[in-house]
Symmetry: C2
């Protein structure tokens, strides 16, 4: 070891965080963060949560499931039984891969969507958010490309950004991801010599777009990815929450090698236990377990065994049916109110499951610029830009109907319409200069999400 003393500091060292006058800078650590940390910024949804949680605001912003229908007595009894009889196991460290019994039950759940899987290939995660994180961790170097729908889930985009991936958005229409657009995007990226690590897709009751990938498109999407040698990351938190139909067959049901499937109990049971999972090809599963051990040693044993006991002791499918009926009523409240009140120039889709309506404003309006005025009018939404990695989506917004009551949803839409009409009026009076930007490529005549990308 060198005998050089620390005061002989290397000239390349950043200056001390301690100033001569003893004060510190606002973030005196700014010089020392990792490069990836520059990409970690508060999402638009996050800033909204504090505003939208005020009781006088109708929040059409959040994605919190309404779990008031859960039978607390049943859950309480299941947990009491768990503590009394298996408490010392439930409170101890468990396997990094997750509880073996729960992984069997997860295979039962996935069977509803046509998936035949072995519990050995399931990794339990701290919500499916952590599954997105771990998959990205093991696959993505900085600069690798992830293909996403346009728009895509804000939480996944945050992960891809934190791992310094390049996100390429691909157009959706009212039937979901457009196969020809996917084929072109893959070819374009590969021709540019960049590595595509996976296509991230939410096939069912999309967040935020509300659309579902048509059954007849699914084999084509798989075939495109297979031919191009690109993995599919199928994120499916809402698959069992269709209103009028049997669950769609998962992409994973027809392709075991090329698909990593993510599931969650957050919307079909409760999010507070943070239990999700990944189903992956065996070799990938091994890497995911190592990544999980590095991230947390193991997912919470107690949470997992509560979910397992709930699945064992409760009519969980009957409970999901109740959830579906409740969410359908709220969907009806929202789309009914939109039909009744929204100006003709706005467009939206009618989701057949899940939590979200994607609404595109009349030309020239900017949802993000409008948000402060909406909050003043006591209604909140998420601006479309949150769901794009590249600043697009300004003319659109996500409206959630999952959490407020039907009455509150109608009141929220009424307030929102008031704000939009005022904006349109102002725009007619003062022209286009009102903090809004005309985004090209938005009028393509369908009520699905508009992608701002061609």
């Amino acid at each position: 070891m060198s005998q050089q003393l620390p005061q002989n500091r290397h000239p390349d060292r950043p200056p001390s965080r301690h100033r001569a006058d003893g004060s510190t800078r606002l973030d005196s650590y700014v010089d020392r963060y990792a490069a990836r940390t520059q990409g970690m910024t508060a999402s638009e949804i996050r800033a909204l949560f504090s505003v939208a949680s005020r009781p006088e605001v109708v929040s059409l912003a959040g994605g919190m499931p309404n779990i008031s229908g859960l039978p607390l007595d049943v859950v309480g009894e299941a947990i009491a039984d768990l503590v009394a009889h298996r408490g010392s196991t439930a409170m101890q460290y468990g396997s990094g891969q997750g509880d073996p019994r729960l992984r069997e039950q997860i295979c039962d759940v996935m069977r509803l969507e046509g998936i035949e899987a072995h519990p050995d290939d399931v990794v339990v995660t701290v919500g499916s958010q952590q599954a997105v994180d771990l998959v990205t961790r093991i696959f993505c170097d900085p600069g690798d490309v992830v293909i996403c729908e346009a728009p895509s889930y804000v939480g996944a985009l945050g992960v891809f950004k934190a791992y310094q991936c390049d996100v390429v958005h691909v157009e959706m229409d009212e039937h979901g991801l457009v196969p020809s657009a996917l084929r072109e995007a893959i070819a374009h990226v590969q021709a540019a010599g960049k590595r595509i690590k996976f296509v991230y897709t939410i096939p069912n009751y999309h967040n935020p777009a509300g659309v579902t990938l048509a059954a007849e498109r699914r084999p084509e999407i798989l075939e495109i990815c297979r031919e191009a040698d690109v993995l599919v990351l199928e994120d499916n938190p809402y698959g069992l929450l269709g209103f009028d139909e049997e669950p769609y067959r998962a992409l994973r049901a027809d392709e075991a090698d090329g698909v990593i499937y993510l599931g969650s109990f957050s919307k079909t049971f409760a999010p507070g236990f943070r239990v999700g999972w990944a189903l992956a090809p065996h070799a990938v599963r091994e890497k995911l377990v190592l990544a999980q051990e590095s991230a947390t040693l193991c997912p919470p044993s107690f949470s997992q065994m509560v979910v397992s006991a709930y699945l064992d002791k409760h009519d969980w499918l009957g409970q999901i049916k109740q959830f579906r009926e409740m969410y359908r009523e709220r969907r009806d409240a929202m789309t009914g109110a939109l039909d009744d009140m929204m100006p003709a120039a706005a467009r939206w889709n009618v989701p057949t499951g899940g939590f979200y309506v994607w609404l595109t404003l009349p030309d020239g309006l900017d949802a993000k610029a409008m948000l402060p005025r909406a909050v003043t009018a006591r209604v909140a939404f998420v601006p479309g830009t949150a769901f794009f990695a590249d600043g697009f989506g300004a003319q659109s917004m996500r409206l959630s109907y999952c959490y407020p009551t039907p009455e509150r949803i109608r009141e929220g839409v009424r307030r929102l319409v008031g704000v939009i009409e005022e904006e349109v009026e102002l725009r007619h009076t003062f022209g286009t200069g009102l903090g809004t930007a005309r985004t090209p490529g938005l009028n393509r005549g369908y009520d699905g999400p508009t992608t701002d990308l061609t």
Copy 2:
């Protein structure tokens, strides 16, 4: 977008994972993992768990706390009350930073070690393992240096490896980290133009070394890091588990700006809830919350509220006192058995708290090479090499006394001594060529951990 079709694949693309004959390679994804994934390999501890969990094996390998003393009735009642009265909150998404009430209680816990902190500066994590992960995530680019004790916690080393950090080990003696060695290491690394992101230290009842940083060394360690402008990551899961003494004053108690403090309920309550925390300077805390949101959206609400209710409703300090007495009895069983049976040429320390004894074998013996023979003799330990990033530690092992009963501990030591004596005998008969290597620098005449580093 280019019209190039996917079959015109770019010549640099890796070959398809689908072979012409339809078979797949063992890991057909091997070409696509991120660079960091090459560093994710199964730890020696992990491979051991499956072997050591066989009932006939006395495992002195694991670090599982013995939670059989927890009052299941009290925990069960607290949870029943939680579900009945605050179930819809406990089962819902929560804040990314963690439950506000729990963060207040965490400040009360840290006050026992002299820390005055605000709940705003606490971030709840999925065990303190996740805190190590998130701190490393926000600070470390590939090639950044993390300074660790020699030996250091295997789980933290795994994280540093997964983030492609360079680990530099610094010598400890029976009083913990050696200040002059730390000063030299920092100067050496900085003179080489490399960035040191933090010094990772476990000051109390070290895992795996069993030693504690002497109170009189603590100001000096802080001063060295302050002068060199290097953060300290203070990992303190065992601080309240001292056998005969008041808790040591935390490093964080005397330096708020330059120390990130990590705590855990895994050893003072139960690990199955996976509740740990980081206390960080305000600006760093903000980054940690963003990283937590990206990693999991939020830590499990239910787990957090169970821990909070337990702290509210139970004499948790009295419970920790019981744990301490139980672990002291087991420490006595282990060190007594070592005194009675172990050959004189072996050396070990007598920990004053925590879970671990660090034992160095007679010269020429290799703990890793010996492990299969030990398991055949129905005793397991962790070879010292697991606790070094660089392959050192072959002559040492970690012995845990936390989980087996005193009788089993004595039996385990008896079996271990049998294996060691046989190894010594073989070595005398056949010389040094028996799969062992003489490691230089191991005889420095103290019973603390030997570092293999000078």
